[in-house]
Structures are given as structure tokens and as C-alpha cells.
Amino acid sequence: MTGQTVDDLKEKVSLNVKNERVDHILQQLLGSRGYTFQFNDNVIIIRKKEPYSPIKKNATDSSINTTTISGKVTDAVGTPLIGATIMVKGTNDGTVTDNEGNFTLSNVKRNATVLIRSVGYETREMEVKGQRIMVQMNVVVSDLDETVVIAYGTTTKRYNTGNVSTIKAKDIEKQPVSNPLLALQGRMPGITIEQATGVPGAGVTVRIQGANSLRKNNDPLYVIDGVPYTSRTLYTLSQIQGGSGGNAQRNGNIPEGAGNPLSFINPADIESIDVLKDADATAIYGSRAANGAILITTKKGRTGKTRVDVNVQKGWGVVANKLKLLNTPQYLALRKEAYVNDGSPVPDASTIPDQSNADLAYYDQRRYTDWQKVLIGNTAKYTKVNTAVSGGTNNTQFLIGAGYQKETTVFPGDLSDKKGSLHFNIGHTSSNQRFNVTLSGNYMLDDNRLIGEDLTGIAMSLAPNAPELYNPDGTLNWALLPNGDASWLNPHALLKQKYRNKTSNLIINNTISYEVLPRLYVRNSFGYTSLSSDELLTKPLSMYVPQYRPFYQNESTLSTGAITTWIAEPQLSYRKVLGKSSRSTIDILIGGTFQQNTTRYMSVKGTGYSSELLLENINSATNRQVFNGSSVYKYNAFFGRVNYNLDSRYLFTISGRRDGSSRFGSENLFHNFGSIAGAWIFSEERVLKQQRVLSFGKLKASYGTTGNDGIGDYQFLSLYNAVSSVLPYQGVTGLKPVGLSNPYLQWEITRKLSVGLDLGLFKDRILLAANYYRNRSSNQLLSYGLPSVTGFNNIQRNLDAVIQNTGWEFNLNTENIKAVQFKWNSSFNLTIPRNKLISYPDLALSPDVYDYVVGQSTSLVRAYKFVGVDPEAGLYQIADKDGKIISGANLGSIEDRVMNIDLNPKYYGGLQNTIVYKTIELDVLFQFVKQMGAYNGRFGNHPGQFYGVNNSGNQPVEILDHRWQKLGDDASVQKVSSSWPTAILVPYSNAQRSNAFYSDASFIRLKNLSISWTLPDLWQQKVNIHGARIFLQAQNLLTITRYKGLDPETRSSNAVPPLRMITIGFRTSF
């Protein structure tokens, strides 16, 4: 290529390209500056372009066989693409689009084909039919060159040495979820995500490549736009939202709460979520990333015309599955049988009813209520509106987004979760490209109104002939017994309890970067997050059974708390292109972290209100009890990383970090972490460049260490707390020790090894990634169980136990069909994890001796061997460790728990298919998990008993089918009893700790179905909009499982399962 000076082109430009076609580069460089170019053998001719005029290639060439075409190039949602090239296929004729995306091209042969190209978009071929063509360009799907966000920077799949999985906005948007983490379910290997309940704001447990810590923090590190974000909510007054996995850290004396803090991020504001798994990806986060890291990047504005996006969605959610419970005749028959078994007279209408027999002696014997329908059978309504305004010039881009969401519940009553959110991002680059500043912010205000407790458990156990909820006069029906006591706790009384959680979440990030010397950048990132909540939980007297009210008072608790974090990370980075070929680069980064988290919490419990109407006014309480707590966590580090890319074939990364954490005593404040990684892109080798099958091949490996300081603050101090009571004792509030302290606490270390192979076949139409990982965690931080003789149940300490997580991760992306009108892509992922306790010193002498087994999973349940029901006595039997049968009222001893049940998944994954036909896009995601789970319904809930005001008595129907009834019965459920004496209770509790309590809880779930239809261009043009689409989305549509409980994901029958959600919506831009 020979150069020719063009005098007008004095402007300095920076262009950052790799492996890019020359015409693409030229088009990007010249297109927007008003030049056209033309290839002529080995010469590129650059000409100043006359706007809207055809390129005069040959003035004499006009003939009746040629025509002038014009048109417009836009992206998928209708934004004009500036500087896209339009080339006539088989010629060197071409032009580029102007600032409005318009182009004109003359002397085009009739029936010619034009190629339209733009950087970052798929090339399109179009036959010239008319004189005006409208072209919509799709973003490049070739995954290899998509941006991957890593710690302190970005890379591409092609050049990444680490193990990172990414999900982009287009997949997040397909799912009607309010917590972005739920959009990850089933979509990537190596990560398990479980939702605790179907209540708005539910807890979500996230584990990346398994649990590394025996009994401490296993949450990943969350980083939102570079700012670390809490993985747990503050202490909550109600547990209805469910936990986010056990064993989290406490902040000082403030326990963790229910729910999940990521639900305070609007999924619509998210551009991408990157999950960092191996040491190469995480070591630079040091001690915080032993459990992997999840990086969330929010949307940014793009250069171009100001555009407005609107997305409106409306949906409905229901509990998809019901447990099959006894109906009234079945139930009553079982109850009567229970009395007969006990040798007691069967109560009937002539018996004086009390709380142990009201179902037989008092209630209507024909009445039937499906309590699941009444208590959790409502339809939750879902409304979501998101708008965004974005745009910008070459120097400054902006985006402002706003969202509103309302979600009601499946419970009766007027309950809802309302969220309003605001997101903005402003970026500015100086004209000389050396100075860059960005400011981004996310704010959400959430008003979640729920009840204090989940009604699901009640729905499962209420007697089917329990009375009417309301009296004819509209008051609650208490079904009074002859002695004046209420016979039941009317479940609607619980609705009088009010739980409200108002949360505001602010995340602000500011980065400034300046190129002080050529290619030497000084950068600083400053972030601030504040998650604060205001809660109210009222317990009016009217929620209690009338006869118990003398023992209660009107009570309400107000609480307020906040977790605030600030972080400053100054960095220096240097980048140099090496060698003549310019195919080698070196990147050096050094930086520091200064971080401080402050947690504060205060709650005031007021009692003695004279009226229930005053419960929200704490001043009306006659007694007030205050609890408060605060804690500070400081963290700092010095880190560095070198990336070396040799000839685009050999890649090396080394990173190191020295961390300090305030959670340890002065001896062990600091620790060093580091990693080394290498990759070989063997497809770039000359030998392999000749063939056409393999388009990409990379082998990669990494090894490194990360740490864990997730034990909560101040554990090395022996703290004393105030004893909590309304009045002081003798005018003094007493103190009590909080726990045993340990000044010798040290970092828990995880050593991660990862080996991977990435293959691209047939021009990357088939992409296969396989990874093997082996993570070993040692020097375990844990609460070591202690006998009460020591004063406490546990102590925080390091234990030299080693836990290993190994696994295979596979990811296969295929473009099955790639035609202009019809496209079919598939994506399949599979993870086969294995968790194992490698060593545990002196396990036999430790309190864990019956909980863990060396060589077995750490999610082990040790259970008795279930033998079945004794045909003679009709009672459950288990076997002792020698196989001898334990029967009757003999409790099994712990040594007899010889069955090892692993609750970790055996394998899990997902299959996504995307089919695009013309303007219709169909997307189907199946999630599958192979696992075991506990299911209590196997043994029922004290079958035959009806006890107290809870009116609990109903059972799963399988009790009826399998129970022991008479001598010699070969049954699997023991005989029913009305009174549950110890002789019946003991075998039942033996059985509940046996292997029969656990069953297969594997499932295949149609996690997400999304159908969208893009409105015809003609319609859109009429109203001047673009990218208009109507869509239908469904979440958790169908579940195939053998699990008999309510839901195999929650594996609980006491919590509302994740809802089956169906939404319809409309989105457009203008």
C-alpha cells in the first residue's frame, strides 16, 4: 500500500483496532469526515465526498442498465449508523453513510448485490430491487470479539486468559425478573443461582464453582461499575423474603437479613454481567474474590442522534404447582383412624370440642377449602416501565434512564413491591483523546409492603374442613369453642400484621483518566454506595388468637440502617506495541485500593400502644426498647498486573496483590495473593491457517491464590454487649460477653487452578469452550462448634482443613442456520462439579466428626439407613451402624448415621435456542439440575394429629396411600396417631433423619420463553419511531421433576416457590 498525502487531513485521531479489515478501518476513519475511498489494485484512492452525490467512477458509464440507489442504514432499534460502507459486490464501487445514516450510490447495475458493513455489526448483503433500500444492521454475534469486562479493564473472549462468562443486555431484557442475578440462571457454566422464595425481593443464593468455605462466607464479590457492592442485606425485621444462603458474615453485632441486595439494581440499566471464575480473573481482587466475582456494567450513552427508548411491560405471576393434600373425607377418615390406633374414643359431634379435636367434634364435616388456593393462590400482577434518553457527540456521551416497577404478591391482601429507579452515565473525552472523565450513578427507591410471615406453610397444613374465614357480618371468624376460646388461628388475622421495607440504594462511580505521557495513563476511580433501609413491622393484638391476647401487647418495631462503602482506586497503566508487525503488546497496570465499609443499624421496638391505629407512631408506645449496632471494615491493597501478548499467539498475564483487612488482629493484617496465566492461540500458527475448519483455537491455563476474610468485623476482639430488656436492673443496664474471641485469626486461602480449551469451527459458527477447574481452600475460617460447657456454641478460628472444588465446564454455541431471513442459534452449557473434603485434622476428635467425612462432599447430610415400617408394630425402623434394626421408642445414636447424602448438584446447565424468522424472534431457555433434596411430605406433619390453634393436620395424599393400618401391612408410612406419645414420636424423628427423607430433586425447567415481533418498517415510519417491537415473555413456565414437594429449586414447602410469570410488552425508540 502506498501512501498519498491528503492535505485536508490534519486532524489527529487515535484508532484502536486489532485484526480488523482495512476497509472497515478506513470507513471508520474517513466516513464521518466526509471522504470516500476506493480500492484499485493495491492503491487506495481517497476522495473528498460531495454530500449525497454518487461517486463518479466513470462519467461515460451511464447506461440504461444502471441506476442510482439511495437508502438509510440503521441499527436494530433504528438508530442511524454513521460511516457504514456500502459496496457493490464484485466491484470497487462504494460509499459511506452520512450523519443521518443516509447514502446515495449511482451507476449501480440493476440486480446487483450490495454489501453493507459497519464496525461491530454483521455484514449484510442485499439485492438491489428498487431505488431506495432500508438496511437494519445486527450487532456482531461472533462471540469471540465481544467485550468481556475483567477486573480493572476489558478484553475480548479471543484474548482473555481467564475463565469469564458473560451475559449481555439483550438476554437480560428477555426475562421478566426484578433481580438481575436471576437472569443468569441456566445461562452460564460454573455458577449456581437459587431463589429462596417467590416473594418480591426474595433471597438469592449464588455460588461460583461451588462452596469453598466450610462454614463461612461463600458469596462472590459483586462489583458494579467498578464499585464493590454488598452481597447481603442488612438485618431485616421479617424473614419472609428468605435468605441468600447461610454462613454469611456478620457486621459487628448486626446479623444479616433476608432478601438479596441485587434486587435494588434495575436489570434494565445493565449492559452486561461478567462472571469471573478462575484465579487469573479474580486474583487481582485479592481477598475479596475467593468465591469468584460478578461484575455488573451499566448502560452508557453512544455517539449519535439523541434517542429515547421506551419499554412497557405488564404481566401475571402465579404459583405453578400445588401439593396434593387430603380432601375433607380423606382427612377425617385418617383422623378417626388415628384415634382408633391410639385406643381412644373417636370424637364426634357429641364430644365436648377442644383444641385437639375441633375438626371432628365441632367443624362442619362436609366443608372443604383448598387453602393453597385461598392463601397463596392469587395472581401477582407485574408492571414495568423503563425509559432511557441517550446520545452524544464524539466527545461527550450521556444516558439517563428511569424505571418503574410494581409487583404484587400471591397472598391475599393489598401487598405490593414498588420500585422507582434512576440511572445516568456521562462520559467526556477531550478532543485530543488524552483526558477522559465519566460519572455514573444508579439510584433506586423500593417500597416493599408484605406481611410478616409466609402463609405457604399454613396453607399446607390447615385442616381442609377448617371454618370460614369471615362471619356473615364481615368480621374474622374465630369459631369459638364452648369455653369461649377461639378454635383456630384464622390465617387472615395474620394479614393484620404489616411489614414494610423501604430501601434506597445509591451507587455512584467517577473515573478520571489522563494520558500523562504517550500510552502512560493515570487513572483514578472513586466509588460510593449506600444501601439504606427503613422498616416497619407491626404486630397488632388483633393478629393473635383472642384467648392469647392477654399475653401480648400491641407491638411495632421501626428500624433503620445503612451499609455505606467508599472506595478509591488510583491506578497507573502503560501500554506498548512491540515489534515491527505491531502484533505484540504489553500492558502494565499498578494500582491501590482504599476501601471502607460502614454499617449501622438501629431498631426501636415499641409496646403498649393504646390502639392499633397508633402502631406506626412510636411515640404512642408506652415502652420502647432500642437496639443499635455499628461496625467499620477497612480494607486496602496494592496491586499490579502485566499482560503480554506476543504476536497475537501467546498471551501471558501475571498479577499480584498485597491486601490488608481490618478483620484480623495486628499479627495477620496483611497477606499476598497472586496469579499467573498463559494462553496459546494455536489457530494463529501458520500450519493451521491453511485449513478452513478450525477458525479459532486457544489453550489456556491459570493458577493463583485468592483469600477470604468473610468472617465479619471485630471477631478478634472479645466484645461485651448490653443485655436487652425494657427496664434496667436496679437502674443499670447489664453487659454480657458476645462470644469467644480469637486474636490469632488469619486469612483463608483458596488456590485455583484452571485449564481451558476454546475452539471456533467453520468461521466461528461453532464455538466450544471447555474448562477444568480445581480450587482448593485451606486454613478454613469457621465457627468451630463447641460444647456449651465452654460458655458458647462456637468460636471463630482457622482450621487446617482443605476443601476441594473441581469441575468441568462446557459451553457450546452454534449458529445452526444463518440465512438472511432465518437464523437459528443454540447455546448449551453444562457443569459437572465435585466438592470434596480433602483433609480435616483430627476430625475424629472434633465436634464435626458426625457432620463431615474426608473424601466426601461438604454439603453432606449423614442420615440413618431407613428400614421401613415394622409390619407388626406399624412404626418406622432404622438400622444401626452394624445393620441391626432399631425399632420402637429407641432413638438412633449419631454413630448410626451411616448414609451419606450429598446435597450438591451432580450436574447442571442450560440450553438456549434463538430462532429469528424475518421480524419474529423466538428465544427458549431450558435450565436443568441433577440434585437431591429434602422432602418432609414423605413422612407428613405428625399424621393423625390435629393440634392447637394452628389447626395443622392436613397431610400430603401419599400418607393415605402408604400408611400402616393393620398387623402385617407392608407399609412405608407408619401408623397414624392422634396424640403422638413418645413411642410414636421417636420412630418418626428417627425416620426424619434417615435417608428416606431425601429424594431426587432434579428438574428441567423451561426457565424463559421470549417471543418478539418487530413492527413493519412502513408502520414505524408513519409514526416516526424505530425498533418498535411487541413481545411476550415467560419465566418458569414449565417444570419437569420427580420431586414431590412444592418446588425443586427452593426444596421447601414452607415458602412461596418462584412464580410462573407471563408478561406482554412493547418497546420502541424514537
Binding site: N253, Q355, S356, S430, F435, P482, N483, D485, V516, L520, V522, V545, Y548, F551, Q553, P570, L572, F594, G608, T622, N623, N628, S630, V632, K634, N636, R658, G660, S662, F670, D713, Y714, S718, L719, N721, V723, L727, Y729, Q730, G731, V732, T733, G734, L735, K736, S741, G785, L786, P787, S788, V789, T790, G791, I795, P847, Y947, G948, S979, W980, T982
Partner: protein, 481 residues
């Protein structure tokens, strides 16, 4: 913006580099201990905080007494569990599995009551106080003595219940968890010796006057609150311990010492025995709640409403106890009340007369009172064959109950009369009956007759919660569980 490469940028690069390198600085990550906590390093360097740790134990006991459900095994609620295990209380709500296991003497180790845990957690605090206070050189000397005295008294009090509920128990006398973790059982005899050592020290260390909340100042005349142990509490408990140990000489001496302190103590009329700070009270617990929990747990849980026993008040007095009162015994009418529901009559303890109504605190849960000293001395004297003096002590108690003096002719008859007197005097108070039945060796006879086949002699000891046995390598479960 147009920025060149001036010289100054080198400087800024250096500054940034220095900032980054300074990140490994220890200063930055130092945190102060949390503002709302005190820690072991400073709690015993200040009179007020040192005293607060001991006060916290009473506060906690008192909270448990009135707040917490009584089946769960907290020492302050021991009256219900032991009352059901013995022959005092009947259970109305037979579906209450937790209480039924006491009632039918059918406790199960996997769901055993947690007296064990709650008592050892108090013992840890007491040991921490003893260690912290003994080391401290800055506390006011008299305060230091009082706190040490209260700590040793409390340690003795807690071990007394532990050894009586469980038999031989691990004897933890320090806070060192590595040592305590592996403790085997110490024989009950040795535990008693430690109890006596602690109480003998406490009687010297403790103030002979009731002290205020700061454990330092005495009350102005007539204002005293009898809610902190004094020397007299130590001596009173010693008298009981010696009696249990069959050291009758010392039991008598200790009882006499308290009885003779008439400036502080005398018997009061039946209706006043459980009022706050009455002159019979030696050690009481001040309620720490307001409103409906402002009085004692005994009042709250025992007093039946007109609907009779039920979910919240599932127990009532056994017929056998009601029938065991002599006719004319005023305790039968002043300390017992009844409700009639349909055809059934339910009797309930009415020693404490304020149940769950919002009221000022007028009654305090009474742990030690003078009447016990009379009966301790009567028994000690009878055992020493000093029958005349023994009967005199017995008659002091009988006279208050409106009963005539008696004078059984033989030692055995007198002892049995004293045992009976203890039964009707201390029913549903702090486990007296259950403990008396055991120490006198009458338990198998009494409960065997009453409860038939469900009674086994191994039921005298409660099971240790199973997880405790699992977590303590040298601890074995009691026989029969």
C-alpha cells in the same frame, strides 16, 4: 480541552505512584472497636462496667423468668419442668409434646431441655468476671470484693442446680475453651466441695447490706431493693448445701446465722411473702419488663383465666398436692386458687397474685427466703436428734400457716413431717420439691406409686442435650437416655 505534556505531569505520575504504594499501610486499616461495644480489655478497668457484667446476669435471669416460654429449659423457669416431673403439676394440653415429656418422665436427649446450656453460659460469664476482676488493679477495693463475692455466689448457685439436675457434671472454673471443651464429668461430691468453697469465700467477700445497682453504695434506710445477693444470701444457700451434703452441724449453724439477723429478716404474713422487698426475702429478681410482663413469670404462667388451662397456661396443680394440705392450712387457701370450667375444677398456684395484666411491679420472683432457713434448721436439728428444737423451728412455719404446733415423737416421724412441710411450703418454687424428693431418697417410692410404669429410677436425672454430648469428647450421656 487541550492538554500537553508539561513537566508537571511527571510529578503527578510520581505522586500517584506514591499514593498507590502507600496502600500497604497499616495505619489505614486500623479500626477502633465498635462504639456500642465494650471489650474485655476495658470492661474490668472501670467500676461501673465491671459491676454491669454481674448485673447483666440478674437482668437476663429476670428477663427469662417473665418473658420466655417456660418449657425451653431456662434456669429461671425451672418451676414448671421440675413441677411436672415431680408430683406438683398436671398438664392440661397433652399435645404439648415439650411439656409432656417432663410430665410423663419421658425426656428425649435429642429434644432435651436446655438447662445445661443456659447454666453453663452463665458460668462462663461468672468465670470471666472472676478472671477479669482478679487481674484488675484499678477497681475500688470494696467493689472488687463485692463483685468477686457475687460471682462466686452465682457460680455456686448455678452448679447447685446443675449437679442436682444432671448428677456428675464437668467443672469449668476458667474461660479457657480449649480446656473446658474436653472436660470429663467431675463427681457430684467434688462439685459440691467447689460450691462450698465458693460460698465460704462469698460470705466473706459479700456486703452484709443490700447494695445499689453500682454494687458499691448501700440504700438509704427503708429504700432497699433485695435484688442483689448479700452475705446473707451466701449463708442461706450454704445452709441448703450443707443440708444436701448431710453436714447437719454446718447446715444448722448457717441457718441460725441468717435467722438471728432479725434486723433484716423475719417471717411475714402469707399474702406478703412474694411482694417485692418484703422482710422475708433474702434474694429476689426485679422484673425488667413493663406492661403485661411487669411482674413475675410465676404469676403470668400459673394464674389461670376463667377459661381454664389452655395453650398459654397449660399446667395446673395436681390433685395429690391439693389433698396433701392439712385442713386449716392457710396456705391451701392463700397460695392456691381455682377456676371452674364446666364440670372441672382446676387449681393453680396463687403465691404470686399478679398475672398478665399491665400493672406496676409489685411482686418479685423470690429465690431465697427466710422460711427455708427455719425448715433447713429443723431438718438439721432433727437429724442430730435435737427433736425439741427441730419441732420448734417447724412450728414457726406451721404457726404462720394457721396450723397448731405439733411434736412428733420419733426422729423419723419428725423428719417426714418436715419433708411434708417443705412440700406444702415451697410447692412450685425453684424446683424444691423435685430436688427434695431426690435427696431424701423418696423419689422412687413417691413417683413410682403415682406414675406407675412410666417412672424409672434413671428419670431422676435429666438427659444432657444430645448435641452437647456429641461436641464434648469426654462427656457421656446419663443412664437411661
Amino acid at each position: 480541552m487541550s492538554l500537553g505534556y508539561p513537566y508537571i505531569t511527571y510529578k503527578s505520575a510520581i505522586i500517584i505512584a506514591v499514593v498507590i504504594l502507600s496502600a500497604g499501610c497499616e495505619k489505614f486499616i486500623e479500626v477502633k472497636s465498635p462504639v456500642n461495644n465494650i471489650n474485655a480489655d476495658n470492661v474490668y478497668t472501670n467500676d461501673a462496667t465491671a459491676a454491669s457484667v454481674i448485673t447483666g446476669i440478674y437482668q437476663n435471669m429476670s428477663r427469662q423468668n417473665s418473658d420466655e416460654y417456660r418449657g425451653t429449659g431456662l434456669l429461671a423457669n425451672i418451676h414448671t419442668g421440675t413441677g411436672l416431673s415431680a408430683d406438683e403439676l398436671a398438664l392440661f394440653d397433652v399435645n404439648n409434646i415439650e411439656l409432656r415429656q417432663y410430665y410423663t418422665n419421658d425426656l428425649v436427649s435429642t429434644s432435651a431441655p436446655k438447662y445445661w446450656n443456659s447454666i453453663y453460659s452463665t458460668i462462663y460469664i461468672v468465670n470471666a468476671v472472676i478472671e477479669g476482676v482478679e487481674e484488675s488493679t484499678v477497681l475500688t477495693p470494696t467493689l472488687k470484693e463485692q463483685i468477686l463475692g457475687e460471682a462466686k455466689f452465682l457460680r455456686a448457685f448455678n452448679y447447685f442446680y446443675l449437679v442436682n439436675l444432671y448428677g456428675d457434671v464437668p467443672l469449668a472454673l476458667s474461660t479457657d475453651y480449649t480446656a473446658n471443651l474436653a472436660l470429663p464429668r467431675t463427681s457430684a461430691d467434688q462439685v459440691y466441695n467447689q460450691i462450698i468453697t465458693d460460698l465460704e469465700e462469698a460470705r466473706i467477700l459479700l456486703s452484709d447490706k443490700y447494695l445499689q445497682g453500682n454494687a458499691l453504695n448501700i440504700y438509704p434506710a427503708g429504700m432497699e431493693e433485695r435484688v442483689r445477693p448479700t452475705k446473707w444470701a451466701a449463708v442461706a444457700l450454704l445452709s441448703r448445701i450443707y443440708l444436701y451434703k448431710k453436714d447437719y452441724v454446718n447446715a444448722e449453724m448457717a441457718a441460725t446465722e441468717v435467722i438471728n439477723n432479725t434486723s433484716l429478716y423475719n417471717l411475714v404474713t402469707l399474702d406478703n411473702v412474694f411482694l417485692k422487698n418484703n422482710r422475708e426475702a433474702i434474694w429476689q429478681l426485679q422484673p425488667v419488663n413493663n406492661g403485661i410482663n411487669a411482674n413475675t413469670g410465676e404469676g403470668k404462667w400459673f394464674i389461670l383465666t376463667e377459661t381454664g388451662p389452655g395453650g398459654v397456661n397449660p399446667v395446673y396443680l395436681r390433685e395429690e398436692l391439693i389433698n396433701s394440705f392439712e385442713s386449716g392450712d392457710l396456705r391451701r387457701t392463700h397460695w392456691i386458687d381455682r377456676v371452674i370450667v364446666g364440670n372441672a375444677i382446676y387449681y393453680y398456684p396463687y403465691k404470686y397474685k399478679i398475672g398478665s395484666i399491665a400493672a406496676e411491679s409489685a411482686e418479685y420472683s423470690t429465690i431465697l427466703r427466710l422460711a427455708e432457713l427455719y425448715l433447713n434448721r429443723a431438718e438439721a436439728r432433727a437429724q442430730q436428734n435435737n427433736l425439741g428444737a427441730a419441732a420448734e423451728d417447724l412450728n414457726v412455719i406451721r404457726r404462720r400457716a394457721g396450723l397448731p404446733d405439733i411434736r412428733p415423737a420419733t426422729q423419723i416421724a419428725l423428719l417426714n413431717t418436715i419433708y411434708h412441710e417443705r412440700r406444702v411450703e415451697f410447692f412450685t418454687e425453684w424446683g424444691h420439691r423435685w430436688l427434695d424428693l431426690k435427696r431424701t431418697g423418696n423419689i422412687d417410692a413417691v413417683l413410682g406409686t403415682l406414675k406407675g410404669a412410666s417412672w424409672q429410677t434413671t428419670d431422676q436425672l435429666y438427659p444432657i442435650p444430645q448435641e452437647e454430648v456429641l461436641k464434648s469428647p469426654n462427656l457421656h450421656q446419663n443412664a437411661g437416655y
